[in-house]
């Protein structure tokens, strides 16, 4: 028994109520649930692309409620709080159920989705999330290098750095694939400041999002922030394919 029980006790002690600033407003999601069911009906026969754009998740996780302080009661959780491996590993990671329950043993327990979450927790099963951003197996992308460089060394805001490849997730409910994540798309950043650029520099509108979170250092102006560091961005095949 007691491995399981002891884990629980530890999680409970970890969850400090002071972290949670307010109850989450998730009432409006009842409409979305109906939409989700509709989507589920359609996806059985609709083109592959629809599935790829917004996979039906076991729990319709609302990113905006957790992170977007503007339209919620002040919840502005940093991306790296839940996706904590992004700064030290090649994969960003899906947070453990224990991390969800750290807050949700107390927060919004009357909501339907939280009760669903709690059922997973009580059964001791992980939530079978579907992967939204999937790269082929021969691509060795690393989150760590990008997050370390842009966030910790250069001091850009986390929301903007994640947004380069994932779009403004703070405005999404369930995460959607908003960027193609193809090799040509990657190289558009990686080669634009090389000596022999293959393409015109990416327009600012391509990557800029209105980040609302605080950066670790002073924010650089948008037009010069990328020129110097990206000159060193590798465009060598063996950086990603090996």
């Amino acid at each position: 028994m007691d491995a399981h029980a002891s884990v629980r006790v530890r999680i409970v002690s970890d969850s400090s109520a002071s972290r949670v600033t307010a109850y989450l407003n998730v009432g409006r999601f009842s409409t979305d649930l109906r939409l989700l069911i509709l989507v589920l009906c359609f996806t059985s026969w609709s083109p592959q692309q629809v599935l790829a754009e917004a996979p039906a998740q076991p729990i319709e996780f609302p990113h905006d409620v957790h992170t977007n302080a503007e339209d919620n009661a002040g919840n502005a959780i940093n991306c790296l709080y839940c996706h904590s491996y992004a700064r030290r590993s090649s994969v960003a990671g899906i947070p453990t159920l224990a991390k969800c329950m750290g807050c949700h043993r107390y927060v919004a327990t009357d909501k339907e989705r939280i009760q669903q979450l709690t059922r997973y927790w009580e059964q001791g099963k992980p939530i079978p999330w579907k992967k939204v951003h999937d790269l082929p197996d021969f691509v060795y992308f690393t989150h760590e290098r990008h997050v370390q460089h842009f966030v910790f060394q250069q001091g850009q805001s986390v929301q903007q750095v994640c947004g380069y490849c994932h779009g403004d997730v703070k405005t999404m409910t369930v995460a959607e694939k908003r960027r193609p994540l193809t090799m040509g798309w990657c190289l558009k950043c990686h080669q634009q400041f090389q000596d022999n650029p293959v393409d015109v520099p990416r327009p600012v509108a391509d990557w800029h999002i209105n980040a609302t979170d605080q950066s670790l250092k002073a924010v650089m102006p948008a037009d010069t922030a990328h020129a110097e560091p990206l000159r060193k961005a590798p465009s060598d095949c063996w950086e990603c394919h090996k």
């Binding site: 060795y140 290098r145 095949c237 063996w238 394919h241």
Partner: protein
């Protein structure tokens, strides 16, 4: 790599390694190796380590007998019979001599310009790269390789890792499938990891920080690997000690203690791997 880059890469052929070579001027790294044949005991530990590190399939006795083994590093065995041509050597028989043979990471690699799709090319840190997802399996590179250290997947070896053996696969490197050429990479996944860690701390990779799998497992430490761009690294000092550099020939040797040589030097492939001759009684 675009067509333009590809042609530029081909234009580098037989030009790299020369003074004023722009392709490498900015590079912080240039990986090189020394293998001391005097300490090599032919134990095959390096071969085993390579199998484990690089997801190499075990092809079985029958296929191995047909020369389809996928060993990126192999121990070549030579038996000295006491006669070299017409001349009798001083001692009647000197026994086996071993040479660990892997991709020599040639600076002027014959495999590179013959690839029709630029799947093999030279990286700025001096590696002879093989991009598996780009390879179409024409096998020109293998036919043009004088060392015969490129291995072609004639079969799909995924059954080699029947469950639960797939758990031992290295996640940092691709599992190659049928129709793809592969070869020693100097453990590029370890090099990239070391560079990544160093970049996080705003520094260069230090000497000894990264080891190849063969070097790590060698019980007699016959293999030395490191950064030739760093003049103080152990491998640089050994190259210097044995009067080796890109462009040097065996005729350039000054003293008997300079034991360095390159395999098939006369082909001007300029390998990044040098071997140190075995010391014989008659050499002393």
């Amino acid at each position: 790599m675009t067509i333009k880059n590809m042609i530029e890469n081909w234009a580098q052929f037989r030009k790299s390694g020369q003074v004023g070579d722009e392709y490498y001027d900015h590079a912080d790294y240039r990986w090189g190796m020394v293998i001391d044949l005097d300490t090599c005991i032919g134990c095959n530990a390096c071969v085993t380590a390579c199998y484990a590190e690089n997801n190499l399939p075990v092809v079985g006795k029958e296929r191995f007998g047909r020369g389809l083994g996928m060993h990126w590093i192999r121990i070549e065995r030579y038996w000295q019979t006491g006669e070299e041509g017409e001349k009798k050597t001083r001692y009647p028989e000197q026994g086996a001599q071993y040479i660990p043979m892997m991709c020599q990471q040639c600076e002027q690699a014959p495999c590179e310009p013959v690839c029709p799709v630029a799947a093999t090319y030279h990286t700025p840190d001096g590696l002879n790269a093989q991009v598996y997802n780009r390879c179409i399996g024409s096998r020109y590179c293998s036919n043009n390789c004088p060392y015969k250290v490129r291995y072609f997947n004639f079969y799909s070896y995924s059954e080699t890792w029947a469950s639960p053996l797939e758990q031992q696969l290295n996640p940092d490197i691709s599992v190659r499938d049928k129709g793809v050429m592969e070869k020693c990479t100097f453990c590029v996944q370890r090099l990239r990891r070391a560079k990544n860690d160093a970049k996080n701390e705003n520094r260069l990779v230090e000497d000894g920080e990264v080891q190849t799998a063969c070097q790590q497992s060698c019980p007699t430490q016959a293999i030395v690997f490191g950064n030739l761009a760093d003049a103080d690294s152990r491998v640089s000092r050994m190259w210097k000690k044995h009067n080796m550099a890109y462009g040097h020939r065996e005729d350039d040797k000054q003293q008997k203690t300079e034991r360095g040589y390159r395999v098939l030097e006369e082909l001007n492939t300029e390998p990044s791997v040098i071997y140190l001759e075995r010391i014989r009684d008659e050499n002393i």
